[in-house]
């Protein structure tokens, strides 16, 4: 029975919707009244971005919104945990985050703005800090946009403020990519189940679960 429902969702879950009231309630409850304005700004961003048909412009708006408003901070400092994946509302409300928090917030926002999930990938990359010649490397996460399945992706990250094609990011070496295609619905089936327990979920599934409880649908 569950399995049948899951397959039905599978095809529908291209974009992500959200329950604005519930999201607002979540964010004000956690980050106080001053976050209300941040949420309304975000809500306006989503509405505006939805209206734009050009995907490049959509990317531009969302990338700018988060890069400008969010201060980079290591997880240990921001969340008192060594590696914490914050939900979009946490990143927005807190105003702080590390690389994957940027990427995730942008990913969710773009999906909420009707971007096709198949065109987006979250990618683990090896980043050379201080340019391609640098020896200092760091584990990093970026959001990639594929205009077509075999196209060269555009890279959205927090190290470089503007969006560039992958070939212009020699400082990054891709390792593994993923998105919520197929999982979002799958998580909906298992995520609500108490018997499975959050601890047995992957970090990604755990995040999807939390986003769902915040008000993403």
């Amino acid at each position: 029975m569950f399995a049948i429902a899951a397959t039905t969702f599978f095809s529908l879950a291209q974009a992500i919707n959200f329950d604005a009231e519930k999201l607002l309630k979540t964010i004000t409850l956690r980050f106080g009244a001053q976050s209300t304005q941040k949420f309304h700004d975000w809500q306006k961003l989503v509405a505006d971005t939805r209206a734009i048909s050009n995907n490049d412009q959509k990317l531009q708006r969302v990338n700018e919104f988060f890069n400008r408003r969010t201060q980079f901070m290591e997880d240990m400092e921001a969340w008192k945990q060594s590696d914490y994946w914050a939900t979009p509302m946490e990143t927005l409300g807190h105003g702080k985050g590390d690389c994957e928090d940027f990427a995730i917030a942008k990913y969710f926002t773009l999906l909420a703005a009707n971007m096709d999930v198949a065109q987006l990938r979250l990618i683990y990359v090896k980043a050379k800090l201080g340019g391609p010649a640098s020896d200092i490397t760091q584990a990093h996460m970026v959001l990639a946009y594929y205009s077509s399945p075999d196209a060269e992706p555009q890279i959205l990250d927090n190290l470089i403020a503007d969006i560039r094609p992958a070939s212009r990011r020699p400082d990054l070496t891709p390792v593994f990519s993923f998105n919520s295609q197929g999982i979002w619905a799958g998580v909906s089936a298992s995520g609500s189940s108490k018997s499975t327990g959050t601890s047995s979920l992957s970090r990604w599934q755990d995040l999807l679960n939390r986003a769902r409880t915040e008000g993403f649908e």
Binding site: T7, F10, R121, P149, A166, G182, A185, G186
Partner: protein, 640 residues
């Protein structure tokens, strides 16, 4: 549906429901758990494979090798790599396998984990997507073996709880069964109490029923006591406790007529010498004491004889009838000596009593018999001889044969079938005009001999303990007669109490009745009151034997032991035949009318028919319905 069956069903259903419920819940949760594990496995393996391929060169052979090596472990249903446009690059697939579980089971509890998906990238470029589905065979096998062992346990536990339920219901059933039996017994007019069960509800029920039975008994006893008082007042002398003249004469005339009584016997008459003088000498109080001692002496001697009758004919005259006693001389002497001894305290050695005695034969009238013995008494008085005087016999005394000859003759008669039943009608006053035919036995001792009545051979048969043979032969004859006359009326057969004592007789009777179950409805069996009370345990046992059959059971010659009617209430009898001595001149005996009216009432209360015996005159017959009798028999009823 019976209460027990409903209880059983309720227990079975609730057990079944709870077991099925728990089985379903645990199967569902097991299935859910297995499904979750498969989903995680799909995800993990897809991700691991995608990560591995992403790091390697992407030539089709390498990818196929990776996919094949994972797939060939046998734990996968499907591993598929598609390019970003959805075209399949590599695919390995086996059909789903139920792992030994039956198809209906996999349909009932399907395990459908979502497949794992992961992206393969080639540098920045997308290379494809992995779709991976694990084999669900293992999950099905686990689930099926779990379900089968749970089914086994369910059966085991179900059997155990059914056994437990049966035990509990059995525990309930026994006391309830007793209550039901009591209720049935009440319907059959047997009033018995039962032990109160421990279950509170049943205890209340049993308590209520016992109380009701107790009240009925008390009412019954009270009424019986009242009637007994009436009977005694009417029929008995208050000082001696002996029958008064009227009642004694009535009993004596029964004795001289009844076919069942011994054909010969003795009558002893006693007269107190100068009772008036004694009275003035001793005073009223001591005279009463003297009379009591006198009567006690008579009673002591009389009780050594069966079916004796005692009477006080007037102030100073007493009489003692002893059926079956051929020569009363020894007994009269004994009586004489005992009286003198017992009353010596009052008499100062002066003779106090004169005694006359004589023999009688059936067919004599009471008047001449009295006259005969009375004249012997007169002779004794006149002669002044201080010893009993024998009366001169009037008829010719037929001497019976010896015991050995009797035994031979009785045996031969039964063997040759020289017996028959005669029919004496018993009419009913209600809807049924003919209740049954009383069927006393007649016997002849020669092939073409004369038929003789029971009074001639029955006392001898009793002495020789041959009544059971006679009774069985009579019942057998009655059965034959009933069978040969399907539309004929009912038949009543007399049984003697001595027969009932015999185990083998009762066994033969049971077999006989069992062979003719359909005819039992038309068979009435009766035992005389004296026999019933002398053999009460045997009678009870016989009553139990008859429970299985439809025949009627009654007591004949009823009335003398009326005070013991309380013993009869739980026997479940069908009818009483009231002794002829109570019916004698009933049209003019208002005292006995009151007694019989009460008797009828009390008998009707416990569901007994009441029949009058020895009705001689139409006037007597006419009085009976008013008193509550249901039927009558006797010379006044014409034989058809």
């Amino acid at each position: 549906m019976s209460l027990f069956r409903q209880l059983m069903l309720a227990v079975a259903l609730s057990t079944l429901l709870s077991f099925i419920g728990s089985a379903v819940v645990s199967l569902l949760s097991a299935r859910h758990y297995l499904e979750q594990q498969l989903i995680l496995k799909n995800e993990d393996n897809a991700t691991a494979l995608a990560l591995l391929i992403s790091q390697q060169s992407k030539d089709p052979v390498t990818i196929e090798l990776y996919v094949a090596s994972l797939f060939d472990s046998g734990h996968y249903e499907l591993i598929q790599v598609t390019n970003p446009l959805g075209k399949t690059i590599v695919e390995r697939q086996t059909p789903p396998d139920s792992g030994g579980a039956p198809v209906w089971f996999t349909r009932l509890l399907p395990i459908n984990p979502t497949p794992g998906r992961a992206q393969i990238s080639d540098g920045w470029k997308q290379y494809g997507t992995i779709n991976l589905r694990s084999q669900s065979r293992f999950a099905y096998r686990e689930l099926w073996s779990g379900a089968s062992s749970m089914g086994g346990w369910l059966l085991l536990a179900g059997a155990f709880s059914a056994w437990l339920g049966a035990m509990i219901i059995g525990r309930l059933r026994r006391p309830l069964g007793r209550v039901v039996d009591q209720a049935k017994a009440i319907c059959e007019r047997r009033f018995s109490t039962i032990e109160e069960p421990k279950v509170p509800e049943l205890k209340q029920l049993a308590f209520a029923m016992n109380t009701m039975v107790g009240r009925l008994k008390a009412m019954f006893d009270e009424e019986a006591a009242r009637l007994e008082a009436v009977r005694r007042e009417v029929n008995y002398d208050s000082v001696s406790g002996f029958a008064n003249r009227m009642f004694f004469s009535s009993q004596l005339s029964e004795l001289l007529k009844s076919e069942e009584k011994a054909q010969t016997g003795s009558l002893i008459m006693l007269r107190i010498i100068d009772l008036g003088g004694i009275n003035s000498r001793l005073g009223r109080l001591d005279t009463d004491r003297f009379l009591k001692a006198f009567c006690k002496a008579i009673e002591t001697v009389a009780t050594t004889q069966p079916e004796h009758l005692t009477g006080r004919l007037n102030g100073s005259d007493f009489a003692l009838a002893l059926p079956g006693l051929e020569d009363a001389e020894a007994l009269a002497n004994e009586l004489h000596a005992l009286i003198n001894q017992e009353t010596s305290h009052f008499s100062d050695g002066v003779p106090v009593v004169r005694i006359g005695f004589g023999d009688y034969q059936q067919g004599m009238e009471p008047g001449p018999l009295y006259g005969m013995v009375d004249s012997a008494l007169a002779e004794a008085e006149a002669s002044g001889e201080n010893k009993p005087r024998r009366a001169h016999a009037t008829g010719d005394a037929k001497r019976p044969a010896s015991s050995v000859q009797w035994a031979e003759q009785l045996g031969r008669a039964i063997e040759n079938g020289w017996i028959k039943l005669v029919g004496l009608p018993v009419i009913g006053f209600g809807e049924k005009k003919m209740l049954h035919q009383e069927s006393p036995l007649r016997m002849r001792f020669l092939e073409e001999g004369e038929w003789v009545t029971a009074g001639l051979f029955l006392p001898m048969a009793t002495r020789l303990k041959m009544t059971s043979e006679l009774d069985f032969a009579a019942t057998e004859l009655a059965m034959k007669q009933l069978a040969s006359q399907p539309d004929g009326g009912d038949l009543a057969v007399n049984l003697s109490g001595e027969s009932l004592q015999s185990e083998s007789f009762r066994k033969k009777m049971r077999e006989l009745l069992h062979d003719h179950t359909a005819l039992c409805r038309r068979l009435w069996l009766e035992v005389s009151e004296a026999s019933v009370f002398a053999n009460i345990d045997a009678f009870r046992a016989f009553r139990q034997d008859l429970m299985a059959f439809d025949c009627h059971l009654g007591i004949e010659h009823f009335g003398r032991e009326f005070s013991r009617i309380g013993v009869l209430h739980d026997l479940g009898l069908h009818y009483l035949k009231v002794d002829g001595s109570f019916i004698n001149d009933i049209d003019s005996q208002t005292g006995n009318q009151a007694f019989l009216e009460g008797l009828c009432q009390i008998a009707h209360n416990i569901g007994l028919l009441v029949i009058a015996e020895g009705v001689k005159r139409p006037e007597e017959l006419a009085t009976l319905p008013r008193l509550g009798f249901d039927g009558a028999t006797g010379p006044a009823i014409p034989r058809n």
